[in-house]
């Protein structure tokens, strides 16, 4: 080809590629949604006009419809300087623009054309111009494409909260969320969290056990801190996650709806380490909790964020009502409450019915240790290790002995291993002296001893 021809061809190509760039830029995802919304509204109003008997009214509706058709397309955003959020969600979700559509209702059911539900007067209490969208919903407010805006993409750590998880956002500001209308799931999650003894190992802002991580800022946990080969094993509803779904809510949920021992197997046979390391000591709650209950707990924990608490100015926060220690008619009832309050259920089971798994400890139904066993057999036996089932032991203690035992605890090194070469069981009985009041301790012992009696009566 001669240079002259090449000159013309390349100039055409240059223009062509640039036009392509302009067209592609102009063909933004949000425009389709906004245009469709206006068209749908116009069609809807025309249909309304068709049914209208009064010609003046019909003309008015038609004029409105025409206005929708002529509506210019633009990126719309809510600027909430107070919260430092700049949310462009209403660019596509036009029906939720409180100026465009003050009623927040639209005749459409599907997103992004639907309106915003007003659960328990929620919208009125949180005017959008002041709160924006992402402070509750999370996601990426600045983005204007579907995937990026909803945040279920790599490189965005706080994707949109789905289902009941959004109630975690109530917890961020509402100290009184347990009695708040609309935050029922989070409240239920809070109760479940305490009933099942999570607090025995995890603390919330320093209150609770020290065996595992503090959950007071669990929603801020940076994803790079979680080893990919562990995230890869998270199974929710029988499915592994796609990489774009490796988010903190799924990490928590994965620990509740599946066996954490599977998620974090560690190195029980010292294949990569000098010392064997037990798998995650977190109990398998997947049998105890329904899927909905697990979601409730996630909802509560998604409110456990320090980053956002700091970002949201104090005037947006609602203080928690002063928590009063409930009063109980009997020492036994109080003791049962204490058992729950300090997270004893985390190891000894809800209402102390049965001790939970304690890897490589001794447990009922275990075979004798035999070094000739295969790894799978060894693993299965180590898994049968259990925390003490308290009612079985109570006959061996009197009140004072039991109080002393709880006060002193059992140091981690005193654990008896089933496989002498296996890992040291991780969870142990902490010393409760100084952490629990004398009255609470007495009543706890009273209740525990009473469980033994009930057990024994039957036999």
């Amino acid at each position: 080809m001669s240079y002259r021809k090449l000159f013309y061809v390349l100039n055409f190509l240059l223009l062509g590629v640039f036009v392509w760039a302009v067209v592609k830029d102009n063909d933004a995802e949000w425009k389709t949604y906004q245009r469709t919304y206006y068209e749908k509204m116009a069609t809807y109003l025309d249909a309304q006009a068709g049914q209208q008997k009064d010609p003046a009214q019909a003309a008015k509706l038609r004029a409105q419809a025409d206005e929708y058709r002529r509506h210019p397309l633009a990126i719309k955003q809510i600027i909430t300087d107070g919260l430092g959020r700049y949310d462009r969600c209403i660019t596509c979700h036009v029906g939720m623009d409180e100026y465009e559509n003050p009623g927040m209702t639209t005749p459409f059911k599907t997103q992004p054309y639907a309106g915003h539900p007003d659960i328990a007067g929620l919208v009125k209490a949180h005017p959008f111009e002041k709160f924006g969208c992402t402070v509750c919903h999370e996601g990426q407010g600045l983005a204007t494409t579907v995937a990026d805006a909803h945040g279920w993409v790599t490189n965005w750590d706080r994707p949109m909260l789905t289902g009941v998880h959004i109630q975690g956002s109530c917890v961020k500001c509402h100290g009184d969320f347990r009695t708040l209308k609309g935050a029922e799931a989070a409240a239920k999650g809070y109760d479940l969290f305490h009933q099942h003894g999570c607090l025995g190992c995890h603390s919330i802002d320093g209150v609770g056990g020290t065996i595992s991580v503090d959950l007071g800022d669990i929603a801020d946990k940076p994803i790079p801190r979680i080893a990919p080969y562990n995230f890869l094993r998270v199974t929710i509803d029988g499915k592994h996650l796609e990489e774009k779904d490796w988010k903190i809510q799924n990490w928590i949920l994965g620990h509740l709806v599946d066996d954490p021992e599977y998620v974090t197997p560690n190195d029980p046979f010292a294949e990569d380490n000098a010392e064997p390391i037990a798998p995650s000591p977190m109990p398998d709650f997947s049998k105890e909790l329904t899927r909905d209950q697990a979601d409730d707990i996630v909802a509560y924990l998604m409110g456990m964020t320090k980053v956002e608490e700091d970002e949201i100015p104090y005037r947006y926060h609602v203080a928690a009502p002063p928590e009063k220690e409930p009063r109980f008619a009997s020492a036994k009832a109080h003791g049962k409450y204490v058992f729950e309050k300090y997270g004893c259920a985390g190891c000894h089971g809800v209402d102390a019915v049965a001790g939970r798994r304690r890897f490589n400890a001794l447990g009922p139904g275990q075979k004798d240790y035999d070094p000739k066993m295969t790894k799978a057999e060894l693993f299965a036996e180590m898994e049968k290790g259990r925390e003490p089932t308290l009612p079985d032991l109570m006959s061996g203690y009197d009140h004072d002995e039991l109080v002393a035992k709880i006060e002193q605890g059992v140091p981690p090194t005193a654990a008896k291993k089933w496989d002498p070469n296996g890992p040291l069981p991780v969870v142990y009985m902490p010393a409760w002296k100084g952490k629990i009041s004398k009255k609470e301790l007495d009543d706890l012992a009273t209740w525990l001893l009473s469980t033994a009696k009930q057990q024994n009566l039957g036999f």
Binding site: V17, A21, K24, L142, A143, D157, D272
Partner: protein, 551 residues
Amino acid sequence: MPTLDIDKIKQEVVDSQIWRAVFRGGVWSDTPRDRQAHISGNVWLHLHPAKVRPRALKWTYTWGLGGLSFALFLLLALSGVLLMFYYRPVPGLAFRDIKDLTYAVSMGRFLRNLHRWAAQAMVVAVIAHMVRVFLTGAYKRPREFNWSVGVLLLTLTLFLSFTGYLLPWDQLAFWAVTVGTNMAGATPLLGNSGPFSGLLGMHVNNDLRFVMLGGTSVGANTLLRFYVLHTIAVPLLVGILLILHFWRVRKDSFSAAPYQANEAKVDVWPNLVKREYIAAVALVIFIMFWAITKSAPLETIADPNVTMNPEKAPWYFAGLQEMLVYFDPWLAGVLVPNLIIVGLMAVPFIDTNPKGVGYYAWKERPFAITMFLLGVVMWFSLMAMGVFFRGPNYAWYWPWESWWTFKAAPPPTWNVFGPHGQAVLPLALGVPVLGGLFLAAMLLPKLIQRDLNGWKVLGGVLLATAALGAVGAGMGKFTGTQVGFLLFFAGMTTWFGFVMPQRHIRRLDWARYLVTMALVVSTMGILLKMGARLCFNIKYVMTVPVVSMNI
């Protein structure tokens, strides 16, 4: 009805006072005089001479790489200025502005992609340009100085990329710059953690790193500093050096090719200008296509407490990052890069071979071309290792392995001379042994003043190594892979570090010989140390912790 006489209108326009005020010369009639006047009457085109030797027009000679680098520089300046309209160099705001460019500014995403990819293309173009100039010997007298200016321009191109990297204020940016500036902190004498830094009383708040950061860690000051460097200071410097570079190219008759009998020069307009235009437009089309189809990466906002896993440098710095695995920062991050830059600038002054100016001539310049290509190949191999063979925790992952597979922790490393906290062993034994080896490697090729059979030498060394390996393997000390590695590194260093210099440069004068050998021996040193780490887990050959001197 009057007819439309196009030629008459053209004539009137061209003869009007306004046209004449702007453009000199009359109606274009494509005479040689017109063509020359066109070049000399236009300040931009006047970067060219009016006539040029036909050799300079050959695509297979220049590949148009210098011109393409300049075209990319212009494209970057244009897109960069446009990006500046929407960018504020303040932490938080900077990241938001990049998000805005991506999501809300018309053509913003395209412009950012264009800028990013053009920058990467420019790095490629400039490196390729340098390789071409080397291979055609176009740095030889009288062009030595312009070659040095070119090396500086390459360095500044990389520095522009580095400073631009911080501006999006995402994790990628933050950690690349944290690592990059900490290398500055490891500079001998001037950095707080470099060897002998105590002599000048260097601390985190008064050393070289502190100046780069404007603080003790990457923060608002750093962003502002990098912004000023990236948008004003360095481009200005590049512009000045470019003028110098072009002016010299023009003065040195545009092509180093040897003169042929009866060589007639040809007009630059249109012969050269049309080629430049075609190449530049084709490149711009390519970059635009790339910018449309592939978006520039943007990770989460910078977090000084969390590092992404793995954290990887951009590909053109991946070689440096890979080298940092084997060497202490003051070596890999300061000494070696400076040695490369100074070494490259020294090339025209140590290469006394008069042959091979202006054409590709492997046979006439075997030593220069082999050694240069060895350096280029090593550098790109390091890059490839960093980009394709490293996964989470910067562990070794084969390209076909998933990054999500579990990797056992790497085995512990050990030091040859200098157990922890002791200086006696390294100083009493390490310095003599290493110094002796270094001197031997430096001097032996020149001291043996007779023709050796290189293949026999190589064979002998390989045989000896194989014997050693076999004994080691027999004693259960080495594995097969280790012996393989050993053979590879022994062969490489013997051939390139001894046989080649002995054969080709032993007759060089001492000054040039020593400078050349210093470069050759340090290249071999890098190879050997990498081998030592990869096969035998040797961390340092010698360490004197007291002065942070680790080799």
